[in-house]
Symmetry: C2
Subunit: 255 residues, 2 copies
Amino acid sequence: MSHSVGQVAGFAGITVRTLHHYDEIGLLVPSARTTAGHRRYTDADLDRLQQILFYRELGFPLEEIAVLLDDPAADPVSHLRRQHHLLTARIDQLKEMAAAVERAMEARRMGINLTPEEKFEVFGDFDPDEHAEEAERRWGDSAQYREAQRRAATCSKEDWKALRREMDEIHGAVADRLAAGDPPDAPAVTALAERHRLFISRFSYECDHQMHCRLGEMYVQDERFTATYEAIRPGLARYMRDAIAANAARAADAG
Amino acid sequence: MSHSVGQVAGFAGITVRTLHHYDEIGLLVPSARTTAGHRRYTDADLDRLQQILFYRELGFPLEEIAVLLDDPAADPVSHLRRQHHLLTARIDQLKEMAAAVERAMEARRMGINLTPEEKFEVFGDFDPDEHAEEAERRWGDSAQYREAQRRAATCSKEDWKALRREMDEIHGAVADRLAAGDPPDAPAVTALAERHRLFISRFSYECDHQMHCRLGEMYVQDERFTATYEAIRPGLARYMRDAIAANAARAADAG
DNA sequence: GGTGCTGCCTCACGTCACGTGAGGTGCAAG
DNA sequence: CTTGCACCTCACGTGACGTGAGGCAGCACC
C-alpha cells in the first residue's frame, strides 16, 4: 500500500538522497510518516514522482516542474500530451544533430570541408542574421587550416590513396551506367549502390540502408556534395540517390 | 582569423562566462591573448568548442570531455562515429519514452491502468528481477486507486459517456466487418480505421497515420490492449492493426 | 581633452540538484 | 543483547555555471 524511501528509490532508479531533496524543497512530500519519522510514499506520490522524473529527463528545473504539477488546471492527459510534444521535439532535434554528424562524416570521407556556421547551427541557438558580416570572412578559408584538417583525417597517405581509388572506381562505374542509359533500379546499378554502401561501412562508418538513403538525399540537397558528383558526370547526384533508394527497396523486399 | 569571447559566445549560443569557465578549468584555453589580456580564439579552438558542446549536449561531464578530446589516439573521425552512436542511442531511448507516453495516453483513453513497473521502466535503470517480490503486490491493485485514476481522467461523466459510446460504435462497426469477412484493406474498413484515427485526434491527442500505426502494433503486442479488443470479438486486435496499416498506406498513396 | 559607452578583464560569492559523510534511532534476527 | 540494516537529520562538498563588483582599453562625441 505505501512504500519506504529505499523501495521507491530502487524502483524509480534514483537515490534516497534525491527523494530527501524533493521532500526538502516541497516537490514531492510523502503523504505520510511512520511514528519513527520514516517517509511513506503512496501510489499517488509515485504517480507524481513519475511525472517529476519525466519532466526532469526533459531538462526542466525542479521549481518549474513543481509549478507544472501543482497547476490545478492541468489534468493528467494534458501532461501526457505536453510530454509527448516535448519528446518528439527533442527527438527531431537529435535527429538533426545526427544528420549533421552524418554530413560531417561524409564530408570528411569525400574531402569536403564544412563552414563554421554549419558546424554550430545544429545547436539551435544559432541566428544567421546575427553575424552576417561575420560570415563573410569564413574561418575555414585558410589553406593552412584545410591542410591541417585533411592531415588529421588521413590515417596514412597510402590508405587514403587506396580509398580514393576504390571510391573513384565506384563513382566511375555508376557514371558509366548513367551514360549507358540504365535506369537507377537496374540490377547492375543497385549492385553498385550496394557496393558503395559496403565500401562506406568497411572504411568509414557503419552505414545501413536507411542511413545510406539519407546520404543519397544529401547528395542532391547539399550543394557541396551535388557539385562533387556533378563534376564527375552531370546528373550523377540524382542518379546516385535514386540508385541508393532502389537498392534499399530491393534489400527491404528481399529481407 | 581569430575571435574574441563575445564573438565566439554569440556564435556558439553560449555565454561569455561559460567560455571563461572552460578557460579556468583548462577545457578550452584560447590559443592566444592580446597585449590587453583579451582572449583570442583560433579556428582550431572553435573546432574544439564544437566538440565540447556536442559531448555536453549528450550529458558528459566537462572533465570527461577533456579526457576524450585530449586522447591522442582519438582522431576526429572516431569522435564523429562515437557521437553518431551516442545520438542514435539517445534517440532510441527517447522514442521508447514517447512510445510509453503513447501507451499511457491510449490506456487512459481506453480506461486501462498501467502497472507501476511499466510506469518506471522507460527510465532504463529498471531491473525487473531486482524487486521480484515487490512486483507481487502491485501498487495499482487497489480499487480505490483505480477509481481515483479514473476520476482524474474523466473531465465530466457525460463527456466520458459520450466518448465511450462513439468508441464502442466504431469498435462494433469494425467487428461487424470482421464478422462479414471483409479484408482489412477493404474501403469500408479503412474508412472505419480513419474514423477511429480522427476520433482519437479530436477527443484525446493529435494522432497522425504514423502514430496510429504504432497504436495498431500496440493492440496486438500489448496484452492489455489485445485483451480489450479480443473481448469485443476474437481476432479484432490483429484486424484493427491491419485495417489501420491499410488506411495509412491508402493515405500515403493519396497524399 | 574630458566624458561616456562598449567590451573585455579578474575576483568572488550565489545557485541548483544533488553527493557524501557524520552521528543517531528503531527494530528484527542471530 | 548486540549486530546489522534501513532509516533519520544536519551539514558541508561539488559541478557547471550565473551574477554582480570594480577596473582597464579603445573609440566617439562634444
